[in-house]
């Protein structure tokens, strides 16, 4: 059986999908009995001498109106043209596979409803965790079990920068420059280092657990731009490394959610997720702790996840039920997030602060751990401290 698809956007992921389909063609046909054929590729640019040049089109109408095309890969990115084309593809009875986290985080619920109406599927395996097989087992897990915590390291750029700082003692500026020179970070790295990208991924995972819309505007993001070598030094002395973490705790009265730098105990599996790797962490009431680890980005891993969706869409005989609705989830205000914190202060006599640790290389600093507490409680407890020391940093601990 030959299955014809179209690819929208011939950038890194779009061209990767064509490449993975070629590399694994024999495997896919052997295992599924299906031959997947790229019929159209939409891009505004020209690709002279590209092996797929003859498939190129600049007109979405060609794809929209081609009844032979059953599956459309949306790899344009963003929320504008991608949204328009994804919607039109679904309206014309085609399943859509996309790695586009912005599209799913913002318009997921609406597009799922439309897909249901049209009896097709909207699949988004690569939107969170890139090449990690995550979304499907996660959807299965939340069917069976009550999720208590969903968290993870979901931005490879930030993780690369923090790994360089931790392992090689690099400054933030030097590590960012290194990441940019390797193509891991963009010239404007805000979306990655500011935790905005990871936050959207957390919102997708939370929406899937809650079956409600989690808007990223309601989740506080804090970036890693101000993390210093001192933070790593004091963390290490207490058995921690530092990671950009997203964390959602599903509580009785609402969801505590944050995307921010956190200390992670060196013995925690998330502490060994280094370089551009990603991992999602899940605590289910009966399943316990689960971690999914793998390549969070990269051309072929991400494209492999999209191809896995193409096969899912090809195998599905009807709409795969999805309970994610437009009803808004109750995200608690960020100052309700309860966690241990590491407080670091600058003062004249650090050893006078009880239970604090001091490091010889930073003679005017002291640091200590708080019990699990909310931001409100921390602010209150720091009132006394501020009379004798300058609070240099308050960083959360993920446990």
């Amino acid at each position: 059986m030959i299955l014809k698809i179209a690819i929208l956007g011939y950038g890194v992921v779009g061209s990767g999908v064509a490449e993975v389909l070629k590399i694994n063609a024999e495997q896919i046909t052997k295992k599924t009995g299906k031959k997947i054929e790229v019929k159209h590729i939409l891009d505004l640019r020209d690709f002279p001498s590209d092996p797929y040049e003859s498939l190129m089109t600049k007109d979405f109408g060609v794809i929209e109106n081609d009844p032979e095309v059953g599956i459309v890969v949306e790899a344009i990115g963003g929320e504008t043209i991608a949204y328009d084309y994804a919607k039109r593809a679904i309206m014309s009875g085609k399943s859509v596979c996309t790695p586009n986290k912005a599209l799913i985080a913002k318009h997921g619920a609406e597009l799922f409803a439309l897909a249901k109406e049209k009896g097709v599927n909207l699949l988004f395996e690569a939107s969170v965790g890139g090449g990690i097989p995550l979304i499907r087992p996660y959807i299965d897990a939340v069917l069976t079990d009550q999720v208590q915590v969903v968290a993870g390291i979901l931005n490879g750029t930030s993780n690369y920068i923090l790994t360089q700082m931790s392992e090689n003692g690099a400054s933030y500026a030097a590590a960012l420059k290194d990441a940019q020179s390797l193509g891991y970070a963009e010239q404007d790295p805000t979306a990655d280092v500011g935790s905005y990208d990871a936050c959207r991924k957390l919102c997708i995972l939370l929406s899937l657990a809650l079956d409600k819309q989690v808007n990223y505007e309601n989740v506080r993001t804090e970036g890693i731009e101000n993390i210093s070598t001192e933070d790593f030094a004091f963390g290490k002395a207490l058995g921690f490394t530092l990671k950009q973490i997203v964390s959602g705790k599903i509580c009785e009265n609402g969801v505590e959610a944050l995307a921010a730098p956190f200390f992670v105990p060196l013995t925690h599996p998330l502490a060994s997720v280094n370089d551009v790797y990603n991992a999602a962490w899940l605590t289910g009431k009966t399943t316990g702790n689960v971690m999914f680890y793998g390549s969070g980005a990269g051309k072929l891993p991400t494209a492999s996840a999209v191809v896995s969706n193409i096969i899912d869409a090809a195998n599905a005989t009807s709409y795969i039920p999805h309970a994610w609705t437009t009803q808004e989830a109750n995200i608690l205000p960020p100052d309700k997030y309860v966690t241990k914190k590491l407080i670091r202060v600058i003062c004249k006599n650090p050893t006078a602060i009880k239970n604090a640790i001091t490091l010889a290389e930073y003679p005017n600093q002291a640091a200590w751990l708080t019990p699990p507490e909310s931001e409100e409680q921390t602010i209150k407890s720091l009132e006394e401290i501020k009379k004798m020391a300058g609070v240099e940093r308050v960083l959360r601990v993920f446990e």
Copy 2:
């Protein structure tokens, strides 16, 4: 919609399934629209005053002949009665969900063929990795991508023992006794510490990747019984910890497979899998490295995975295609397995051995790493060494 099931065997997992169905009942109904009801529980023992006492039966015929029961959970274990009942359940048109690795490793291919014939499903999520959502995403992954390596830490008992030895400097005997007192190890721990249990799990993963039968008799198993504190000390000096690893490398001319103790670099994500936790490691040609981590055993995690299968079986409208056949895979002889090794020798003048490391606390020992080589090559390269030193240990390195 009410869905009636039967549970065979009311031990740890069987009773766990009933418990998870109760704990997560509301969640399951909310998410799937189905109410799952336990109608019969088969066990030879009596359970007076158990809340499910009224459902107990000692006669499999009651279940086999009850047309209301669509799904049977096989939680008896072993390969004899479990095989007979699983087969009869499938023959009578019921889907079977089982955590029984021995049953699947030995009779999987035959039972899948039978399930196909009868249009029902045989699902086995908990058979490898206990509560880790592993089998389903793994089956998806091997549809899309070419698996190059499948490996992991798949026995919680051994992992607990080795973690105790590594972290607390315990001897093997003391750590085993500790594991037995906690109920993690059986009085006869051979199946776990001898790597037999983990080997069967590797065979299931390899069979799923290859679509062929991998017989565990063809995979060499080596136990952890002789691992000593010296092994950990020399490993640590070279940046390794020691784990019971299963590893299958799918090569052009066949499969290199082993279940044995391996050194793992401390920077490798598998090194942070401690205590009774398990993890499966996968390297796909285009997906890259993936790790699935979670509770490898335990009543509720394992039962959660079985319940996830019950929901899969309930949602499936027909036989989920499966390509695992009875055709035998080509497992290469164990001496073809290529890997780096750590050689440790006992000799009078350890520092005379070039490139070897020595440790002050073991004055008559030296250790070094070989390049990646087969067992044949290692044996040959040790001929010269044996003239000047006694070879105390040859341990493989997983990288």
